[in-house]
Symmetry: C2
Subunit: 111 residues, 2 copies
DNA sequence: TGGTTGGTCAACCACACGGTTGACATTCGA
DNA sequence: TCGAATGTCAACCGTGTGGTTGACCAACCA
């Protein structure tokens, strides 16, 4: 999922798909790049579950799977919370720490 | 930033740094990988601003920059909201749509 | 039926990336 | 001062990835 979003072109595709489904040629039009290259990017996004495609006549509209944003939000939130907790722990440790006579050792303890 | 998190080893490093700062050798220990390889991963994380390093004697503790989680959260939230809005728009469009007489075309419209 | 349009498949190429090894710098401890 | 520990730098290597071109398939339209 992160790997799929690592490429700027792919992020741009995702951003544009937020405005609605689109076909391959529509998506490829603004880029200075072959259709096949864009098709490969879409394949990556599809493999990562960020996007789905349905057959409609001779065209294959690309649809953004919005749930992945919820997943990513969860992921980020988990780490954000964990890091925050650690900061709180550090704060209490620092608050409970007696005033060190020698600042030398104190700098070593603090981690 | 996404590119930095694309690698599973790097995500693992970030996860472990949530528990507190650590030195290069500490971080590299659990992996079946050379120290230098881990150092490269850390360099990538540092270039992406996910991590910072300070000199402390002969060791260089690695510190997780927690703000990036806020940034990522913002990013995800923006897209999540946008996609959601689009769904709402689509819903109103569907709601305002007159009942289709021929179920044949209707099945085509249904996406 | 034959063109045209929208996508796909396959082969290829250049380059970035994850990993290695080896040599070197710096700092602490004895 | 010497040795060991901690990191860094540089060169190299295999593979994956982003891109190209060319041929092809499938569906619509005239």
């Amino acid at each position: 999922m992160f790997a799929a979003l690592a490429d700027p072109t792919r992020r741009d595709l995702v951003a544009r798909l937020c405005d609605g489904d689109a076909t391959l040629t529509e998506l490829a039009e603004p880029y200075d790049m072959s259709i096949q290259a864009v098709a490969k990017h879409l394949a990556v996004l599809e493999a990562a579950g960020l996007v789905s495609r349905t057959r409609r006549g001779q065209t294959r509209p690309v649809h953004l799977e919005a749930q992945v944003f919820d997943l990513m939000g969860k992921w980020v939130e988990r780490y954000r919370r964990q890091a925050e907790q650690r900061y709180r722990r550090l704060d209490t440790v620092l608050a409970e720490m007696p005033d060190e006579p020698e600042s030398h050792d104190a700098s070593k303890e603090q981690r």
